[in-house]
Symmetry: C2
Subunit: 352 residues, 2 copies
DNA sequence: GTGAAAGCGCTAACAA
DNA sequence: TTGTTAGCGCTTTCAC
């Protein structure tokens, strides 16, 4: 079924080597021959076999990407951003999802490496990213994105998480909030710890005690559950600060269960910036991660590393941006009115 | 840097052929030799080169996927679902995004086919999916998902779009709504046309004229814009019915701009079911597409086609489900109160 | 049951 | 410039 370089060569009346030279542009070929070759390739519908050309030592034309979760729009957003740059250079992307599991991560990484890709992009499942040895042994240029292991010395692209935490906390504190609950996914992740650090610095610098912190896990369901549990027992905060997109959703779901109004009863500051956040009522104040820029930066770094192996490693840190919308409001002076409101609402069911 | 089958063979004191047989399990090998080979492979960190093994005629161990947009969570959700099945069979997924552009689609398809994949999954950019010839010539088994060209005779997995439209329309009509606006992405897509057909059938069967229909485009921004334009000029409907996820977001964004309350002033029925839809206030009534099932079905079909090429082609249609939440409400009898409410709100700015 | 050898489709080195 | 040839790493005959 498949048409090979020999078929094209025969039809054009030249040798396979010439066909290769014409199509790859590696060597000059007499124009008339080149035209014959091209037309033969065209009519036969010839497309060089990537596997074969790769094998022979022509560079690999594939980039491998390993992400923790293909259902998480932040990761796929990053993937889309990278893909948009890679496409122009005749490369393809091969993806695998580690499912947040280090065992799977290792297995999938081995499988990806088996393609001998030109480069590798990985968002680790955990900080103790145990696969560096594997990658190093394969000698594949790679960039770590988003979740960068604590003591990592290679190329990495992240956001400035401490600053992101700072921006979020300052916004809420400036609005008068003191009793804030931070919905972190898990403190096992360095980026989350850094976001917390940024928040705590703000509190410390204002002479306030550190805010309450809950680990809500990495998906929507556990996040909602943990936050609901928390709200059953705890003193009511005046604001929630979520550190991930699923954390944001969990906060909203929990609030909705308690029938609390945002921002009248309680302020909510979300993480990541998706379309739905501006479409809903109230539009959500959130920390926007520069996904497109991150994708561009990841590819820039990886590209540089692929072409010039001796480039010094670097950690690129991009700045997040606070997008102020309507879900955060100044702490109201009158507390009593609010409590009454809440009590009344708690009795009623969902909106009819 | 790379360790090859010869290195393993040498270390284990056997021939390369034997190593291949041990690791692939294609032929029986004496247990002690097999153990030696395995341990050698282990210590050397050997992983067979996929490109080489592919080339030699061992089946391709890669599935290609072509989607219109990697930023659309519906498509990536499908991808994630498929990946979760594919992973278990030692296959990898290579993805490309056509960006909704038939030209790019063709180019990317050619690039994907150049890997001689074992199978191909494609969500076409348009109905006039001009690439079937390309795929047929390559002889690659393939499944078309979600957007199935009008006269398509191959394997396909979709939802029952007519029924989805029917369910949505019946829900609204049963609540008393007559003045409904349908936010379709574009009527150029067969699946959207089918959803409309389902809606219109309901209206016809109740002796009602067909509902107003707007084409809002395929992304959030144009969707919001078109809907805002529409609402500037038109008579106020009592309910919106969105036929895509971006349509849903556009409706919400437009409503928010006009400061209309859901469902008190107007009902909203969304399409697709994402976490945010249950987390926001009010939780959205929506048509849920069975993404996980679709992924499973896509793989089941493709797998069957790969293994038994003579399997008769089939179109699998999965049923959507109406998830009733709080964004749809019965049409209130008193119209005057509502109008007054609206007039009052329109004057005010966003919530403080 | 194992080793030797051919050859997948391609590109790079070498010859003409 | 072009054709010829070797060989990438692997699997699969074909001998033994």
């Amino acid at each position: 079924v498949s048409v090979s370089i020999k078929d094209v060569a025969q039809r054009a009346g030249v040798s396979p080597g010439t066909v290769s030279n014409v199509l790859s542009g590696n060597r000059a070929v007499r124009p008339d021959l080149a035209a014959r070759v091209r037309s033969a390739a065209q009519t036969l519908g010839y497309e060089p076999d990537r596997a074969a050309s790769h094998l022979r030592g022509g560079k690999a034309r594939v980039i491998a990407a390993l992400v923790p979760d293909l259902s998480n729009p932040f990761f796929t957003g990053l993937l889309a951003a990278v893909e948009s740059h890679v496409r122009g250079e005749g490369l393809n992307i091969i993806v695998a999802s580690s499912n947040g599991d280090p065992i799977e991560e290792k297995a999938h990484l081995a499988a990806l490496l088996a393609w001998r890709p030109a480069g590798l992009i990985v968002i680790p499942a955990h900080d103790d990213f145990g696969c560096r040895a594997l990658i190093a042994r394969a000698g594949v240029p790679f960039v770590v994105a988003d979740r960068v292991p604590t003591h990592f010395e290679g190329d990495a692209v992240t956001v400035d998480n401490v600053d992101a935490g700072r921006q979020a906390a300052e916004h809420l504190v400036n609005l008068g909030h003191r009793n804030i609950v931070v919905a972190a996914s898990t403190l096992k992740l360095q980026n989350i710890r850094e976001r917390c650090e940024g928040i705590e610095r703000v509190f410390a610098s204002r002479g306030l005690g550190p805010p309450t912190l809950i680990e809500v896990g990495l998906d929507f369901d556990t996040s909602t559950e943990r936050l609901a549990e928390f709200m059953d027992g705890a003193r009511q905060p005046t604001a929630f600060l979520a550190l991930t997109n699923f954390g944001t959703l969990g906060v909203l779901a929990a609030l909705q269960k308690w029938d609390l109004r945002v921002p009248a009863d309680i302020s909510v500051l979300g993480f990541d910036d998706y379309s739905w956040m501006k479409a809903v009522v109230p539009p959500l104040t959130a920390i926007r991660q520069p996904v497109a820029d991150m994708g561009a930066e990841i590819w820039r770094k990886l590209r540089a590393r692929i072409h010039r192996k001796d480039e010094p490693t670097a950690r690129v840190k991009l700045r997040c941006e606070l997008v102020v919308r309507a879900s955060t409001a100044p702490l109201p002076a009158a507390k009593s009115e609010k409590s009454e409101l809440r009590r009344k609402r708690t009795g009623s069911g969902k909106a009819a």
